[in-house]
């Protein structure tokens, strides 16, 4: 399939991204570059200096809300991408409202409890919408341990499913971006076989 046909096809779809940190910012940029039509992005946080070790932001954006900064960056790589933002901390009951109409959703949280809450909410309140989770991306090396596992049509997970981020094992750009781009790759795979 030619690039122009692929981009025309992807432009028809809406993808939700829950979180605009390391996973969310990197997957959003990959999806925008690929030509996904609409991105719905939710985050409440602001860009900090420490984020730049792995998140798709720039020094000039420190202090900006992540949703605003990421919108700016997305428009710079693809001005045709429609970006809808929600500047809030998601709760279980918000999920269906915020992400309604999305064809696929990317789980891009940092905290494991938020991941659990969010995935549970998508599976229960947006049945039929696939969610691409991420689990295990801290540290460096061990590239071959990062995998994508399809659990079923509604749930996929990318990551090594074992390394938990902490002070002694922080998340660094390469592994974070690998997992985020793997999530984006799964999204595109799903959309390319969706009418």
């Amino acid at each position: 399939m030619k690039l122009s046909e692929i981009r025309t096809h992807l432009s028809k779809f809406r993808v939700g991204i829950a979180g605009a940190g390391g996973l969310g910012s990197n997957s959003a940029i990959a999806l925008a570059r690929s030509g996904v039509g609409t991105l719905v992005i939710c985050d409440f946080d602001s860009v900090e200096d420490e984020n730049l070790t792995r998140q798709y932001f720039f020094t000039s954006q420190i202090g900006m809300k992540k949703t605003a900064a990421l919108s700016e960056n997305i428009q710079r790589v693809n001005p045709e991408t429609v970006v809808l933002v929600h500047e809030k901390q998601i709760t279980y009951s918000d999920v269906a409202e915020i992400f309604k109409g999305c064809d696929v959703i990317v789980e891009a949280f940092d905290r494991a409890d938020m991941k659990e809450m969010f995935i549970t909410s998508v599976l229960n309140t947006l049945p039929g919408v696939p969610v691409i989770a991420a689990s295990g991306l801290a540290g460096w090396g061990k590239s071959n341990e990062i995998k994508c596992r399809k659990i079923d049509d509604s749930l996929y997970v990318c990551g090594d499913e074992s390394t938990s981020a902490c002070d002694d094992l922080p998340p660094l750009a390469p592994r974070v971006a690998m997992v985020a781009n793997m999530q984006a790759n799964v999204v595109i795979d799903i959309l390319m076989s969706t009418d």
Binding site: T120, L123, L155, E161, A165, V176
Partner: protein, 67 residues
Amino acid sequence: MKILLNEREEEFNADSISVTEMLILKKFSYKLRIIKVNGVLISKELYDSTTINDGDIVHMLYLMSGG
């Protein structure tokens, strides 16, 4: 009874077990996870009362922080 757990065959010495019993027997102590039995998401409150039977397909996903 034999089940598929994350695509691998597992055997248990019982006719059926609860999700809670499965977690104890397999020493799955990490608490932040998603469990599906035969494609159905099982919420934590139902771990004690949901039974796993011979031939069932179980998926478990551990959620590691970072992202």
